[in-house]
């Protein structure tokens, strides 16, 4: 989660800096990309090219479930380049005119629909060109950047694309049992990831444990963006079947273990299933779990602010999408207790009831 990300802004009114940079990176990627994929996320297909071995693994491994044929029509191209590994510098920023106090982070460049975001904390630059339908992400050193910062670039590209399409990204887990699909909303630490891991172990399918793409059509359908499940040490010990697939065994003490479901449970990561209910989760601290009817406004409060916090742009559209979703789905509170097996048993019983 990009909770500590901070960005800076500037304007290149003549496009010289950004056009030169874009041309250079695109030419380099054509010849030297170390990874390429066409990734289909339901109604949106991205062409992603990566330059740098570390970057390619981190960026593309979570997308293997979404691999589309190389000839699939592409909505948007995303090129990601590791500055250290390729020797390519980021765009020179000293020619940019700062436009604000450092808090708003999209710049606007003349009549072109183009913008540059600079993440100061992790030294990444992202140039979006909506007219040319590409984004270029430059990272100073992919090996020193957390995995989530790299994945955020892909998520952001999908979010930009959603502005003009009938889908939205949501901060939620998505689970399916039989023909019944549910979203589990809640801010970080509300139990989404642990519940997802436990549910997979109990036979559920999932479209993700943190960020999902939902078609905002009459029947909302959910699509997986990343195949990642993140587990704290306690959950990893509890669900030992994930142990052999942990990608970051030498992680920092406060980092979660990363597991790609494509490695551990390939048949469980699924896309395109219809949603019926949204559960807003919170940890109660007592043993038993309960699922009780709630109101759309309760669900909206769980879904919208945390989705906004992740996506950071186009706030009114994100809020409207969340309102639409809670208006179309049944809304319930999932009071998750300390006994995770009992929590999943409660969820199984609830899903069976819905099916009937």
């Amino acid at each position: 989660m990009n909770s500590s990300e901070r960005s800076e802004v500037g304007v290149d009114t003549q496009f010289h800096l950004t056009d030169t940079f874009a041309s250079r990176v695109l030419a380099y990627a054509r010849q030297n990309a170390t990874g390429k994929t066409n990734a289909a996320f339901g109604p949106a297909t991205l062409r992603i090219e990566t330059c740098g071995m570390v970057l390619s693994s981190i960026a593309l491994d979570p997308l293997r479930h979404a691999a589309a044929t190389p000839i699939a029509p592409v909505d948007f191209q995303l090129v990601m380049i590791d500055g250290k590994e390729t020797g390519i510098d980021g765009p020179a920023l000293d020619g940019l005119v700062p436009v604000h106090n450092g808090r708003k982070h999209r710049i606007k460049i003349d009549s072109r629909r183009s913008a540059l975001t600079v993440n100061e904390e992790w030294n990444t630059h992202c140039l979006i060109d909506a007219d040319k339908r590409h984004a270029i992400v430059w990272l100073a050193d992919a090996a020193k950047i957390p995995e989530w910062v790299i994945c955020d670039q892909i998520r952001d590209a999908l979010h930009w694309l959603s502005y003009e399409r009938n889908f939205g990204l949501f901060h939620a887990a998505a689970l399916r049992l039989g023909a019944v699909g549910c979203l589990i909303a809640g801010k970080g630490g509300s139990g989404k990831s642990t519940t997802t891991a436990a549910a997979i172990a109990h036979g559920f399918d999932t479209a993700g444990d943190d960020i999902v793409l939902v078609e905002t059509t009459t029947v909302p359908r959910v699509h997986a963006v990343f195949d990642t499940v993140k587990l704290d040490d306690k959950s990893l010990a509890r669900f030992s079947q994930f142990g052999p697939f942990v990608r970051n065994p030498r992680r920092a003490a406060d980092d979660k273990a990363i597991v790609h479901l494509f490695d551990s449970n390939r048949d469980r990561i699924v896309s395109g299933f219809p949603l019926h209910v949204i559960l807003h989760a919170h940890l109660t601290g007592v043993q038993q779990s309960r699922i009780v009817k709630s109101t759309p406004s309760d669900a909206f409060r769980a879904l919208a602010p945390s989705s906004l916090m992740l996506l950071r742009a186009q706030g009114r559209q994100v809020a409207a999408n969340c309102a639409m979703l809670v208006g179309r789905l049944g809304t319930y509170a999932f009071q998750i207790g300390t006994d995770i097996d009992a929590a999943v048993a409660e969820l199984v019983g609830f899903m069976h009831q819905l099916k009937q």
């Binding site: 960005s7 604000h100 999209r106 606007k108 629909r113 909506a130 602010p305 706030g315």
Partner: protein, 154 residues
């Protein structure tokens, strides 16, 4: 603090609000706070979606509900002050329109305005606030150059 004749309106560039059958949820993009408006709060909020004034609302309500005008004005003044404290309303340059008030809205005014404040994500959002891009123009918006230059100068 807004006086009875000041023209005020919801601080639309900074917020999103959604109404769910009597429970209006408002999110402030820059501060990261969000709010539930219940009782008559949602109704008063709906009256502030277009430029108006406390005096205009009092005049529109006069004779339509049992409360005396001075009590209505005191209630509105106190509630508007709360909204202003949280940057949910702002002064407006538009003409103060007398608000249209439905029978359902009138009925809800019998309840006190309830503003519940949630700050659990405020610190995280305030680090890098949500920014808005013009919905019709798309992503990223082709900018208003005058606006960009004025921001640049500041």
């Amino acid at each position: 603090m807004f006086g009875r004749d000041n023209v005020i309106a919801a601080n639309l560039p900074m917020i999103a609000s959604e109404n769910f059958a009597g429970d209006t949820v408002v999110i402030h993009f820059e501060r990261g706070t969000y709010f539930s408006l219940r009782g008559s709060a949602g109704t008063i909020w709906s009256l502030l979606q277009a430029p108006t004034s406390i005096a205009g609302i009092v005049a529109a309500l006069d004779g339509q509900i049992q409360l005396p005008s001075k009590d209505i004005e005191a209630l509105l003044t106190a509630f508007v002050a709360k909204l202003a404290e949280h940057d949910l309303i702002t002064s407006s340059v538009g003409p103060a329109e007398p608000p249209a008030i439905s029978a359902e809205a009138l009925a809800s005014l019998a309840e006190p305005p309830n503003l519940e404040i949630y700050t659990d994500l405020a610190e995280l959002i305030a680090i890098d606030p949500v920014h808005e891009i013009d919905f019709l123009t798309g992503w990223p918006k082709a900018p208003d150059l005058k606006e960009t230059r004025s921001v640049t100068r500041s």
